[in-house]
């Protein structure tokens, strides 16, 4: 289905198509559709592609021009993402800075922080990693115990972070730390910007279930950063983190879900080749998988339309992640089944093909960015207005 955003954006669409056709060539063209939110495949090539995009001015389309962005509207960005997905360009390696830290700084950072940190994101000169989760603070993020104290004009940070995506590649981390030692839970937290290239920071890769060292644990022992490198001011860390997570749960789903459409098409193609559509049991599941990505697309379009019109997104936006992650996992299981016994054979050194990788990595989608259980709590409490669970200590 062609998604029509009106005649006014057609020149823009044509400009995108032309540029992608001219630049998505050579090695890039040999890596169509590579990578994902938790997939480090072809990392160096994807970084090179991101720099190609940067040189073409395609990063930070909606960001203010004074920080190197293009200052365009959401509609232009959405059209770009659709064309980007259609061309099967590599999944951007720098999503942490582009989708999370950048928007967080633009919304809540100081002018000096924006000037210092935003342009290097858009030029793909500095890569970022997220320092939120800890061994004792996963879904219960307010339980963070990493501490930071002021020593002269620097913060000194001690603690441990975990599940930092692409952490070994990060030049900087944005770290949620307790800056008020007397505080508990949501109060007294701050969002610190911390360079990794120092003795007090040790990043160790963690091997995920696909066998790849995509995420990392981070040990902070007397790590230092400037007293001014706190986003939104000291004690505002919870508000800033929640803002960042809502960004993560929102607009960044679009590129990923557009990728699911391609996967569904590939699934149907595979089903045709294997005769799976002749099997009534499989046929139903194939149709349902194909239906689910159409539903995702429409749900996203509803949200996009509301945002473009300057409205607050409706309840569907809150259901999008839960729906998409659940159905994407089903699609992965189904693709494996249709491919048959050969689908489980891996290459040397646990080398996985695209289908195997997609299936295994989809298991992360119901965990990261707010697990499905947290999503159901959020929908129940924040959208439907159901009473909160009684908690041992009330946050307010």
């Amino acid at each position: 289905m062609r998604v029509d955003f009106g005649a006014a954006v057609e020149p823009w669409r044509a400009e995108i198509r032309t540029w992608l056709a001219e630049h998505l060539v050579g090695e890039f063209a040999r890596h169509l559709g590579v990578g994902g939110p938790t997939d480090a495949e072809a990392w160096e090539l994807r970084l090179a592609w991101d720099r190609e995009l940067a040189a073409g001015g395609w990063l930070g389309l909606t960001w203010p021009t004074e920080y190197g962005g293009r200052g365009l509207g959401l509609l232009e960005e959405v059209v770009f993402e659709y064309e980007y997905a259609r061309a099967r360009a590599p999944y951007r390696a720098t999503t942490n800075g582009l989708d999370l830290l950048g928007p967080m700084l633009l919304a809540m950072g100081s002018s000096a922080q924006k000037q210092r940190f935003v342009p290097p994101i858009l030029e793909v000169r500095e890569l970022w990693g997220q320092g939120f989760s800890e061994p004792g603070a996963g879904s219960d993020l307010a339980a963070v115990s990493t501490r930071a104290r002021l020593d002269g004009d620097e913060w000194v940070v001690d603690g441990q972070k975990v599940w930092t995506s692409f952490g070994t590649e990060a030049d900087w981390l944005y770290v949620l730390a307790r800056t008020d030692p007397e505080s508990r839970r949501h109060r007294g937290l701050s969002m610190l910007l911390l360079p990794t290239g120092q003795p007090g920071v040790e990043v160790r890769p963690i091997r995920n279930l696909a066998g790849a060292g995509e995420f990392a644990e981070v040990f902070l022992a007397g790590a230092r950063t400037g007293a001014d490198l706190v986003v939104g001011g000291p004690g505002e860390g919870w508000r800033v983190a929640m803002g960042a997570l809502s960004i993560e749960r929102g607009a960044t789903l679009l590129p990923q879900q557009l990728g699911f459409e391609r996967e569904a098409e590939e699934l149907v193609q595979l089903a045709r080749e294997r005769g799976a559509l002749d099997d009534p049991m499989l046929r139903r599941r194939i149709v349902d998988a194909w239906i689910s990505v159409r539903v995702m697309r429409t749900t996203n379009l509803r949200t996009v339309a509301e945002l473009v019109a300057g409205r607050r997104p409706g309840a569907q936006a809150a259901t999008s992640k839960l729906y998409a992650s659940t159905h994407h996992q089903r699609l992965g299981h189904l693709a494996m089944e249709i491919a048959g016994p050969a689908a489980q054979v891996v290459a040397e050194d646990y080398g996985l093909d695209r289908r195997q990788r997609g299936f295994l990595l989809s298991l992360a989608e119901t965990i990261y960015g707010g697990s499905s259980e947290i999503q159901r709590n959020l929908i129940g409490e924040q959208v439907l207005g159901l009473p909160r669970d009684p908690r041992p200590e009330s946050p307010s």
């Binding site: 194939i286 539903v295 929908i379």
Partner: protein
């Protein structure tokens, strides 16, 4: 396609919701359920006359307001919320779509304005046995003698078949399916109310014995008209289902906030809260699928509209049935009583699921279309 929600659509929704709040509250629904006709003619005329609801997708030259499927879809969604007892799907959804698709100008000019203004109740009897596949072996037989057609046979599960003063039906002719118009007083036409599990949507059995009928189209032309009308009907029904699913969910959520057990509102328990969250996920999927079907209908590409309508029937039927069951579960014992309205949604869910093709039939239609599917552009 334009998928933005306009201020006009918002306003329309508010007007319809307020109107149905006054005229389709639970006592009125229960009163109409108990009647054979199953609708309030005065309310029906006001819907058409004052509000122009039935004519939203009818061009101005036929007495409508010339908006389109998306606007009419708003009315269906609100009608679903309120479990409106009225011949909306039969008249404004199916019959108007048949007439808009056929080229018998006399009939269009005669009937469409009456539908649009709420003066008439029209229905479409597609198959003999009420199933989705048009023109099965059970369809009535049409005969021509000296240029005049008569139809003989039986039609069951005809929506609003008792209330209708315009009956469009499909019968077998030597040239394939024929689409016919039968007037209510025609000779040999018998109509009897069909008691159904869902009492909010009336159906009837029609018998025809040499009944005079006017041929509107035959063969491929009739197939095309029926295809379009069933696609439109499926899309409007999906919108109605999405609205009903939203209302059933709101009812369950409201109860979960009030009902206290173990010293807490039951909605504070994750076992209940997460069920309610999953209900909303299904409601929003249904809204998306219905919206896509209406947009596609407005877009005018028959193939895409048929695909989107089948997707919507699968998603919305599954969603409403599941959500209606979950609502009864959240309500507990009280939800299992006749007195509580939860069962009305379950029964509407079931009739809707079976009415214009079951989810399994629509999955099969989609599976058949997946073979030549080309990648999205």
């Amino acid at each position: 396609m334009d998928f933005t929600v306009s201020a006009e659509q918002d306003e329309l929704r508010q007007v319809v919701r307020a109107f149905l709040g006054r005229h389709s509250a639970e006592p009125q629904v229960r009163a109409l359920m108990a009647t054979d006709l199953g609708y309030d003619p005065a309310v029906w005329r006001r819907m058409g006359g004052e509000l122009g609801l039935q004519g939203l997708a009818v061009p101005e030259k036929y007495g409508g307001s010339g908006f389109g499927p998306v606007e009419l879809g708003v009315v269906f969604e609100e009608a679903g919320r309120a479990l409106l007892c009225a011949p909306l799907l039969s008249s404004a959804g199916l019959a108007a779509s048949v007439l808009l698709a056929c080229d018998d100008e006399d009939v269009r000019a005669d009937v469409l304005p009456r539908i649009a203004r709420g003066w008439s109740v029209a229905t479409v009897a597609v198959t003999g046995d009420g199933s989705w596949a048009p023109v099965g072996a059970a369809a009535p037989v049409a005969e021509a003698r000296a240029g005049a057609w008569t139809v003989t046979g039986e039609l069951t599960c005809v929506l609003d078949g008792l209330a209708a003063d315009v009956v469009l039906l499909v019968a077998r002719t030597p040239d394939g399916p024929g689409l016919f118009l039968v007037s209510p007083g025609a000779a040999g036409l018998g109509r009897v109310a069909l008691p159904t599990m869902d009492q909010t949507r009336k159906q009837a059995r029609l018998t025809l014995a040499g009944t005079p009928a006017r041929l509107l189209a035959a063969g491929d032309a009739a197939r095309q008209i029926l295809g379009r009308a069933l696609t439109a009907g499926a899309a409007y029904l999906a919108a109605e289902q999405a609205g009903a699913a939203a209302a059933a969910t709101e009812s369950a959520v409201g109860y979960a906030k009030l009902r206290v057990q173990y010293g807490r509102p039951i909605g504070s328990f994750q076992g209940v809260k997460h069920k309610c969250a999953d209900m909303l996920v299904r409601v929003e999927a249904a809204r998306s699928a219905a919206a896509a079907a209406l947009w596609a209908l407005a877009g005018g590409d028959d193939e895409e509209a048929a695909v989107a309508a089948s997707v919507a029937q699968v998603v919305c039927s599954d969603a409403l049935v599941r959500v209606a069951c979950d609502s009864i579960q959240v309500h507990g014992g009280i939800g299992f009583t006749w007195e509580h309205p939860a069962h009305l949604y379950l029964k509407r869910a079931k009739s809707s699921e079976l009415l214009l093709g079951t989810p399994s039939q629509h999955r099969e239609l989609l599976a058949a279309r997946l073979a030549p599917l080309t990648p999205a552009t």
